[in-house]
Symmetry: C2
Subunit: 159 residues, 2 copies
DNA sequence: TGCGTCATGTCAGCATCCTGACATAGCCTC
DNA sequence: GAGGCTATGTCAGGATGCTGACATGACGCA
């Protein structure tokens, strides 16, 4: 019945895909009680660390397009989790900030996500985790991927 | 960073997502000359290892729905990379097999994908790779993800 | 001052993948 | 043999994210 080559089973790339998919699915399930998608959670998390971000900046930070970020922001704003000025203060950018509700929801979401990650790494020691983090970061870097969330052009932090 | 500080840069989950995204992007770019998407490549690869799979079986093997698999198969069949009988032989399942063209295209695709994976792991020794593969597989398993790609339809991972 | 360039927000269209539903073929139980 | 159960193929609709395009505001330079 299973007389196939073991190609896929021994491929790091395939394992990477499977693990990432499993993580995404698990996070999605964990965040469901809060009625939050993974993308929305990421958005809130980035916004907490960098308040006042515009939609375009946030898009770059979360590796999506401006359009997707915009749709995401609209939904979260409608739910009162974040606020944006109706008119731009200086340029065209609309700086976004979390509301009190947003901070609260994010705190709970963070807890849930942390539980998922803890479950994923339950069998790993601290040094195991550090090593895995290192390996994954190296993989992304080797593929010329923006590994840092702050690679926004307007950050003015050239290499 | 008082009590809820989650630094994205030191999160294994985040690194996993970034690495997987980078890999997918790189594979997509590598396969573009063959006019093949990653999903299509996966489909061909699974089909090579397990000829005669039905659309539903292939869907389970590639972690997508029957509908997605069906659409994928139609496209690949239209391009002459695989063939399916017009009428079911015994049940309703339509066993799918690669054509000669399909085998040829897949061979080239496999080469391109292998180059990408090699680039990703360029700085890793054989034992590094084995360890990373182990870690990723363990992560997926801990999240209750179906790890087996070449298994029978019943993945055998009950809750 | 006037113009070109860039960044941003926004609209429209397209692709992909999903959930939901339905019809049919084979198998199992009675 | 009849009826249910499961698996498969297929159609319809929706959610999400992308590319392309356009208008506007800030900035740099002749």
């Amino acid at each position: 019945m299973t007389h196939e080559g073991v190609d896929l089973g021994s491929s790091v790339g395939y394992a990477l895909k499977v693990a990432a998919t499993a993580l995404r699915t698990a996070m999605d399930g964990a965040l469901r009680p809060l009625d939050l998608s993974v993308s929305q959670y990421s958005c809130l998390e980035v916004l907490r660390q960098r308040p006042g971000l515009s939609a375009a900046e946030l898009a770059r930070a979360t590796f999506v397009t401006r359009q997707s970020a915009h749709a995401l922001l609209q939904g979260l704003e409608h739910r009162g989790l974040l606020s944006r000025p109706t008119a731009p203060a200086s340029g065209r950018a609309l700086p976004t900030r979390l509301t009190a509700d947003g901070v609260d929801v994010l705190a709970r979401a963070t807890r849930l996500v942390a539980e998922v990650e803890e479950r994923m790494l339950a069998g790993a020691t601290a040094s195991d985790r550090a090593r895995l983090l290192d390996d994954l970061t190296a993989c992304a870097a080797a593929l010329d991927a923006p590994v840092a969330a702050g690679r926004a052009p307007e950050d003015g932090t050239p290499a």
